[in-house]
Symmetry: C2
Subunit: 393 residues, 2 copies
């Protein structure tokens, strides 16, 4: 929430922060700029004030359409500075220095967001040479922290992506039922269907959907082999994470299916993964450290004889990934469930997060993952899509 | 071309460069990693060697599918370091320091690419505190410089996006012909068609397509108003720039249409823009500075009484943008046509670039732009799509 950002800025004595955008939209700019349809610009946030957009003349009207105050780069001597500049970083530093002065910004400034590192490292050095004090975050991203607790409209946006994602998964399920009845199809046929449905329903496929079977299903981020025929009696993992085309909010959901006869070992693992999933889901409460639940699920799997990242950080079989992650304008955001000393992220009311335990044995052609996306409420978590976690299609 | 990068590295005494990826794929990582389907990783390029990918265990097989050598982050103490780290930037610096040492990298290193600035600024400072020498580029992006001259397969990839883009434009043209015959439709109907066609043809719409009419057409980057009915006797600007979903290569193309009676003023401006376009296209030769052609087109428009960015850098009417830009894994890349002292970019053989002059008068409901994407050959430029620049649909 934007007001969380004000508090984070105050606590770190940051007066003004700048989130630049160069060509590629990223989540911090999108959030602060309300999705401004510009190809270049700067979101400037002063403590306790609304963000301001600095843009280029051709995009003045798209920037203004956000409802935010808009200033043009040319108002801050942009054209004069860049006309004769030979050191581009120094030129940007001069531009930002003028901009900050004209806005009456205080001494302490900060940069955040995904930007060209070779450019911004030099800009920060040049600004410091001009006497500006640039905040050192040691890697802490206060915009991501502020984005953690969602506003009601953000929860609605994610719920809407969830409903459409559920619809795509329903379509895959129907295709697999045809396959079970004898129709032959490839993993690529399923992937094409997923891609076109995602587009048809107003969403984008940011990274390729994971649709993998057998051995590939045993490697969590294997995207799957499009050329393979869909096979019977092996796990088929569908991990789908589209974003709404307009709002940019993601949803994340995984189901593991099996057509034909289900091997006993797969059946047992699926039941165990579902039990771990249910355990974490029912236990999760606001105010508790997220990594507590990773610990809980590691203990569960270890008690069933599986290696986990807790018992062996280098394991490539068993429970080889984290329990979940926050979801928003990035597919992976706060809170983190990592079992590290530095991770003190709390589960908080209005967080959106996934729970997604899994078990993986590539050499035995086994991989199982079950995942839903939840909103954290006062008494626990609420799923943002339908259930139906079964192996059978 | 990759071998251009080796020369750029040698000239700047850079032994090893690192292009990180955190969550969001960007063009420098995509290029160097051959589009690795990973969500986190590092492309490491030593001078005169092939890039190496450093990734996380879950994504080991997708990284290996690129054909590049793959190493796991865990081989460089990643887990131990991050387990107890309290300063994330310092932890990454330790990780990179170990990685560079184990690879036998020389003293001078560099970071490039779009990365979280708050993290990487701290990483660079920590690496320097450890005695590493980190290259200062002053904003120069040598990976973008290396990407400028395309390989034959890249030209083919862009030509393929061009053919599909042309097909989408043909569909819009057909819809506008229906509209001319009396069928009513909105700008939003056209935009929906464009979006679904882009998806159907295996491409992505990275930023919203520009489809604007009348006053909006007079503001170059106005995306247009979806709610408006398509109108007669006003300019309709379609600026479409999809990327191939798999390769990531863009195409860029603009046409200006008018249905119904064409006002004389619009007809005249369109003819002038087409003349400017043809002038630049026919004159363009390898070995000449790109900004020479911006100068040429400014002179042409000024001789016809229009303001240009050369005669008035702050003008919002007349010829208000650059003549073109390189196209590749970014929609805007090298060469630059900007009229600044620092811009010494040459037009070179195998560059892919656009030519896109335009004239804009929002208050008179006039905006005209004509754009194609070209490959530079020995004797001039070759269009990568069909012509048909006419106003009539």
């Amino acid at each position: 929430m934007l007001r969380d950002l004000d508090e984070l800025m105050r606590n770190r004595a940051i007066d003004t922060l700048i989130v630049p955008m160069h060509e590629a939209m990223h989540s911090s700019f999108r959030w602060l700029s309300r999705g401004a349809k510009v190809t270049r610009g700067y979101a400037v946030k002063r403590v306790d004030r609304n963000p301001l957009l600095v843009t280029y003349p051709m995009e003045r009207e798209e920037a203004a359409a956000t409802g935010l105050e808009v200033r043009l780069a040319s108002e801050f001597d942009h054209d004069r500075i860049f006309q004769s500049a030979t050191n581009v970083s120094a030129a940007y530093a001069e531009f930002f220095d003028i901009l900050l002065r004209e806005l009456g910004a205080g001494d302490a400034i900060a940069f955040f967001g995904n930007v060209p590192v070779q450019l911004y490292h030099g800009i920060i050095e040049s600004l410091e040479a001009r006497g500006r004090r640039v905040h050192r975050s040691n890697g802490e991203d206060i915009i991501q922290l502020a984005r953690k607790r969602k506003e009601p409209w953000e929860i609605d946006a994610i719920r809407s992506v969830g409903a459409r994602t559920q619809q795509v998964v329903g379509g895959v399920r129907a295709m697999l039922r045809d396959c079970e009845r004898g129709k032959s199809m490839t993993i690529g046929d399923l992937k094409s269907f997923v891609s076109s449905e995602i587009a048809r329903l107003g969403m984008i496929e940011d990274h390729e959907t994971i649709l993998s079977q057998g051995r590939d299903a045993g490697v969590p981020h294997s995207r799957g082999n499009a050329a393979e025929e869909v096979r019977r009696s092996v796990p088929i993992v569908l991990d789908i994470f589209p974003a709404d085309k307009t709002s940019g909010y993601f949803f994340d959901m995984t189901r593991t299916f099996c057509i034909g006869d289900v091997p006993a070992e797969l059946q047992r693992m699926h039941a165990q993964v579902l039990e771990a999933f249910t355990l974490a889901r029912d236990a999760m409460r606001a105010g508790v450290e997220a990594k507590h639940y990773q610990d809980m699920v590691c203990a569960y799997f270890e008690s069933h004889g599986y290696a986990t990242l807790r018992s062996d950080p280098k394991t490539l079989t068993g429970y080889v990934h984290g329990l979940g992650h926050g979801v928003g304008l990035d597919i992976h955001e706060k809170p983190s469930f990592h079992l590290t000393d530095a991770n003190r992220d709390l589960v908080e009311v209005n967080d959106i997060l996934t729970i997604e335990p899994g078990l993986y044995f590539p050499d035995r052609e086994l991989g199982v993952r079950i995942e839903d996306t939840f909103v954290v409420r006062e008494g626990g978590v609420e799923s943002l899509c339908e259930g139906n976690y079964g192996l059978k299609v």
